[in-house]
């Protein structure tokens, strides 16, 4: 039974997404209970799957019994399983948050929203588990199509943002597919494990070098790495409040996970092409992303735009961690990836609550609610601690291990970039707090309006998780070091 858990995890949301338009044709109000049930089941199954991976080691699942490399293979190893737990929990919380917010954002399109969310979660599961480069492409595209739909589903300003996202995302997918076909032409296989055996003989082949470049640009667009990030801020700012948390928390992170798979599981960590270490090259891009993202966040006026740029800078920090080429850095990067998923979720829950309940969109308007909503301010303080990286939170320990890894690799530029990005993060949160505590005439409608319970629940759980991840950082990082490292490190 245990070896089927990855397939179950994927099929649960997929079947629900397919069945929902039929079931909910007449009973629109059923869509929410159904998706909540499916996502709760996913949380349980993903925890069971993680447990079985911890106990019995990784699961290699061959679909329909066709043995790899001919068949399609899924790999449920430590890394994928732990990301899956985060994905299901955050997906569930996003659905809980969407309960009261989605009907107002979307009106009659609530069913569309739930279908697309379930499809997105199924596709992200596929990306995390895929052990085959073409399979990864298909799931990247399914996730992307679901995200375009989600960004645009409410209409209004989001339509144009969704269209731009679609143009760039499709260009990225095409480039990724081009890279995959180069790899296939050079090695004659698509299975990651099989290709890892073939590639060491082929590293001087121009097809592999070109393919790697195209694949990397393609995935760079998907994970909003800095030169290719232009689609993200608009899409996340204009997406409805009920939708931006799940996009911000999961989509770019899972694309990054796919990229980690290719660089470590397919290419091998120490790969050097034409005297250039690939890891170093990507590390430089990560360094740029960490700093530039934070600078752009500092300049943003809209709260959601600011948080979106913050996410871009954190993608850079994760990349710095995983590209140091040593165990400490990799573990720190993966731990920070989990943290960042939780923090981005929490930030967009908060921004969503501000817009939904109080109509506050820009940093300046924050003064209107200020001290009158103490628990919201409290949540913002905890999230800020996590984003900046102060000790009791998970953000601190993630950055700590990343810096240790960079020091171990004698990469002082990367250390400086992480510290600079931390300072800039501090600066933009100071800007937020300054606006929040400045005396402003209060709005009369703030006092009596209380946020719905489910919004409080999602925000509370994610905020608490930021602290919990910090308190339990040591066992988690030790576990990543023991069970989730790539074989080539």
């Amino acid at each position: 039974m245990n070896e089927h858990l990855p397939a179950v995890l994927f099929l649960l949301p997929l079947f629900a997404a397919i069945a929902m338009p039929v079931v909910c044709l007449k009973h629109r109000e059923w869509s929410r209970p159904i998706s909540l049930t499916v996502l709760s089941a996913m949380v349980v199954v993903s925890v069971l799957n993680l447990n079985s991976v911890i106990r019995y080691g990784e699961v290699r699942y061959a679909f329909s019994g066709w043995a790899p490399p001919l068949g399609i293979e899924w790999v449920a190893d430590g890394l994928a399983s732990v990301v899956l737990v985060a994905l299901s929990v955050l997906g569930l919380l996003a659905l809980v948050f969407a309960g009261p917010t989605a009907p107002r954002d979307l009106g009659g399109r609530v069913v569309h929203f739930y279908v697309l969310i379930l499809l997105l979660i199924a596709a992200l599961t596929g990306i995390a588990f895929a052990g085959d480069l073409f399979n990864l492409f298909v799931f990247l595209e399914v996730a992307a199509i679901a995200s375009y739909g989600l960004v645009g589903v409410a209409g209004g300003k989001a339509l144009f943002a969704a269209f731009r996202y679609l143009l760039l995302g499709t260009l990225g997918a095409s480039l990724y597919l081009l890279g995959v076909s180069y790899f296939y032409a050079a090695s004659g296989t698509l299975n990651m494990a099989d290709m890892a055996e073939q590639l060491p003989h082929l590293l001087t082949s121009k097809a592999v070098v070109g393919g790697l470049l195209f694949m990397f640009i393609g995935l760079g667009i998907k994970m909003a790495l800095v030169p290719f990030h232009v689609w993200l801020p608009d899409a996340y700012t204009h997406a409805p409040e009920s939708i931006s948390p799940i996009l911000a928390a999961l989509v770019t992170k899972v694309a990054l996970l796919g990229w980690i798979r290719i660089i470590y599981w397919v290419l091998g960590a120490k790969v050097i092409i034409y005297d250039i270490p690939v890891l170093l090259l990507v590390g430089v891009l990560g360094t740029l992303a960490a700093v530039i993202g934070a600078v752009l966040a500092l300049m943003a006026r809209n709260i959601k735009t600011m948080f979106a740029y913050g996410g871009i800078s954190h993608i850079g920090i994760i990349l710095i961690g995983v590209t140091q080429g040593n165990k400490t850095g990799f573990a720190g990067g993966v731990f920070y990836l989990l943290n960042d998923a939780v923090m981005q979720g929490a930030l967009f829950f908060l921004a969503g609550a501000l817009v939904f309940q109080y109509g506050v969109r820009t940093v300046q308007d924050l003064g209107q609610i200020g001290k009158r909503v103490p628990w919201l301010t409290g949540a913002l303080i905890v999230i800020a601690l996590g984003m900046v990286g102060l000790p009791p939170t998970g953000g601190f320990f993630g950055k700590w291990y990343i810096i240790l890894g960079a020091l171990e690799a004698h990469n002082y530029v990367a250390v400086a970039a992480v510290l600079l990005s931390t300072l800039l993060t501090l600066a933009y949160f100071v800007k937020l707090f300054e606006a929040m505590f400045r005396q402003r005439p209060p709005r009369s409608d703030i006092l009596q309006s209380e946020l719905p319970l489910s919004c409080k629940l999602s925000l509370g759980v994610t905020t608490a998780s930021i602290v919990m991840l910090g308190l339990f950082s040591d066992p988690i990082v030790q576990w990543i070091l023991n069970q989730a490292l790539p074989p080539t490190l």
């Binding site: 595209e141 199509i145 645009g152 339509l159 269209f163 143009l167 499709t170």
Partner: protein, 125 residues
């Protein structure tokens, strides 16, 4: 240099791929009409598929359907079927993307009354 150019003309399929890809990319960058941008996007997608099919070809090989069932199978007699299957999947993905894109275009037209990027941006301000 001359060798490289000559080698390029030995492979007309790859040359075609490069031309179609760059053409599509150029259209995506330079046109303001959203539907024209989509045409460029579709050219880019199709060019990659064209490349993928091209790499399956072999000299003197036939379609990957067994000529007879008694002789042992010789791989050199048939073109590689896998890229064709991948292309089929990628076509489906591309069509789905194009469908979503056209739906977005229609919604944009209904909301702003135009498909020109500049005018939509002006109305967004």
């Amino acid at each position: 240099m001359v060798d490289a150019v000559l080698a390029l003309f030995q492979r007309p399929n790859f040359l075609t791929f490069v031309v179609i890809f760059l053409w599509g990319f150029y259209i995506m960058l330079t046109r303001y009409n959203l539907v024209k941008k989509l045409v460029g996007m579709y050219l880019v997608q199709t060019s990659v598929l064209f490349f993928l099919v091209s790499i399956s070809g072999k000299k003197g090989a036939t379609v990957p359907v067994l000529l007879n069932t008694t002789d042992p199978v010789r791989a050199a007699d048939y073109v590689n079927p896998l890229p064709h299957v991948l292309t089929l999947t990628a076509i489906v993905v591309g069509v789905a993307t194009l469908g979503v894109a056209l739906a977005l275009c229609a919604a944009i037209y209904r909301q702003y009354g135009t498909l020109d990027e500049e005018e939509v941006l002006k109305k967004l301000q």
